[in-house]
Amino acid sequence: MLEKRTDSPDQSVEAVFQEFGNMLYRIAFVMMKNAFDAEDVVQDTLIKYMEHRERGKTFETEEHRKAWLIRVDINLCKNRLRFYKNHPKIGMDQLSRYYEEKEDTRLMDSLLLLPSRYREILLLHYVEGYQGKEIAQMLGISESAVRKRLERGRGKLRDLLEETE
């Protein structure tokens, strides 16, 4: 599996945050739809990473480490979403921190309106650049499910974009 007994030299939590912090935050932000939860999720992901290291577990490659972090990040988001029965929709004020172009805001807003099962697949595929097989392994679902969700997610995203045009 992903955890192996060999490791690359620098795996301190600071180095991991430096390298993958933005990515973890981006995923958590899109999943949780707000900056506060995104911060908490990244924090918990890094704590889990520290605990993982304390147990003496290491990773074979940087890619294994990255995939492990993404998996933990997404799982923590899912756990948290379960606890929020009616999780609030993101306010435009939070998105406007990042976007000046109306088109960009509309695109990201549409992505955030998608159900989380489609959101995570679109994010991992189009934003993080993972292949279907890798996403399937990361999320513990079949490749055909990834394919199906990607297709549906893409369709829903287009519908939303058309609606707001």
């Binding site: 890619e63 379960r82 292949q131």
Partner: protein, 245 residues
């Protein structure tokens, strides 16, 4: 995977959609949006103050919630649990101060009594969105059409910790003094089977010393949900403190 970006993603997308690369040459405005996702999403980054907060929290080992996560292997954990139960065990009456109520159809909030199995009220909870299915491809479900609710009362100055439990696809969650059993649909292969799980609560004092433990036996049978209070163990310290009052 560092170079896996938009390009490789698009290649795969083409394959999935069964379109040739030539066909893809024609620009599609909707597809352009998907391609722009990467650039747009990459602008989401934590600002310096957020970065600082995250690292401070990590260094402090900050944990959210009151859950105690066992960091020891399950077998060792189980052995310690058995040992502690053996030390503290006193098969006895239910502590008057620790009370669990369950929402029932017939009697509203009903106090659980040891050894008595009661039928729980299943309230509608989640609905499926159009096009969504109750079961994932792997046969699991993360959709909860029903919910059963419990209320826990513990003595002042005491709190409780719990042992997480799942029954097949169901989750039992704690929200302060409220427990929720999120009920997933029955898998086809489980038809006619009785599903059961034990949910343990440990009452701890302000020093995190375990004072009492009780167990809820949760049963799913013929689509109905039942709960039974199984046991309450109280520590000698707890008994002594109660005696002094």
């Amino acid at each position: 995977m560092t170079d896996l970006g938009k390009e490789s993603g698009l290649m795969e997308e083409r394959a999935w959609k069964g379109k040739s690369i030539e066909e893809e040459e024609r620009p599609d405005p909707a597809e352009d949006a998907e391609n722009r996702l990467r650039a747009v999403a990459y602008r989401i980054v934590p600002d310096e103050s957020a970065k600082k907060r995250i690292m401070e929290g990590v260094k402090a080992g900050k944990r959210k919630g009151r859950r105690l996560t066992p960091r020891i292997p399950a077998a060792v954990f189980a052995a310690c649990l058995l040992l502690s139960l053996f030390c503290f065990a006193r098969p006895g009456v239910i502590g008057e101060d620790v009370v669990v109520y369950a929402a029932t159809e017939e009697h509203g909030w009903q106090k659980l009594v040891e050894g008595e199995r009661i039928l729980l009220k299943k309230e509608p909870y989640q609905t499926l969105e159009e096009g969504e299915e109750a079961f994932e491809d792997n046969g699991r479900s993360t959709y909860y059409p029903y919910i059963c609710t419990f209320r826990v009362e513990v003595p002042e100055n005491y709190v409780y910790d719990k042992q997480m439990v799942i029954i097949r696809d169901d989750d039992i969650l704690e929200f302060g003094d409220r427990l929720e059993w999120w009920v997933a649909p029955e898998r086809p292969e489980d038809a006619g089977r009785i599903m059961q799980g034990a949910f343990r609560l440990w009452i701890v004092d302000e020093n995190r010393e375990r004072q009492a433990a009780l167990e809820l036996e949760l049963t799913k049978e013929d689509g109905k949900c039942y709960a039974e209070l199984r046991r309450v163990w109280e520590s000698k310290a707890y008994k002594r403190s109660q005696h002094k009052k």
